[in-house]
Symmetry: C3
Subunit: 85 residues, 3 copies
């Protein structure tokens, strides 16, 4: 019938759309270790925290993507880097 033809056409059109193609996003993180007092995140990731050698908890973030440990003696710096995947 004309009615069922319409239904079929509409259904086909919608099936092709993949109405919800956006996958559920989640946070993914990685740690970047570097010797010295600086450590940078890869492009596209943000710094959520920094860790420092010699027990140091004083740090700041330079240019949005680079951890800088501030204590006078520092042998390593790790940036914690996250993005959505």
């Amino acid at each position: 019938s004309l009615d069922s033809i319409m239904d079929t056409k509409i259904k086909e059109a919608l099936t092709g759309l993949e109405i919800n193609p956006a996958p559920a996003k989640k946070i993914s993180c990685t740690s970047i270790f570097n010797s010295g007092r600086l450590s940078s995140c890869p492009a596209g990731m943000v710094v959520t925290s920094c860790a420092c050698g010699y027990g140091c908890g004083s740090w700041d973030i330079q240019g949005e993507t680079t951890c800088q440990c501030q204590c006078s003696t520092i042998d390593w710096t790790t940036s914690r880097c996250c993005h959505l995947t």
Copy 2:
């Protein structure tokens, strides 16, 4: 008319779709405190940072979900854990 029947059918088909069902996601975080030098995030959450007792700022992340404080003496460890909700 046939025309208005078509319009109604199409409209009904689209109404049932809930075209934008994905709610606006946001980041939600919690802190997990533990005695000793290890603290793990719950399943489904990522570690964004760690805090340590005795003023220690040296830590690393084991297996993606566990904070490990590295200073020689450590009495507590807290992992900061986040996910999308």
Copy 3:
């Protein structure tokens, strides 16, 4: 033909929907520096980490949005604050 009229109607209805209007979200972070042992994130942002003066790595988060550095002497506190944009 009736067939092509149906096709046109369906196509028009779908074009008006803007099926994927949700923009790709990403994490955006900022650091809030404050003198003293407390530093709060702006409304709508979460704390992912804290940094403290005097090399201190011992901190906790008060009320979900405020960093508190715990060492006995603290001259500054920075909260690392993130949200989705």
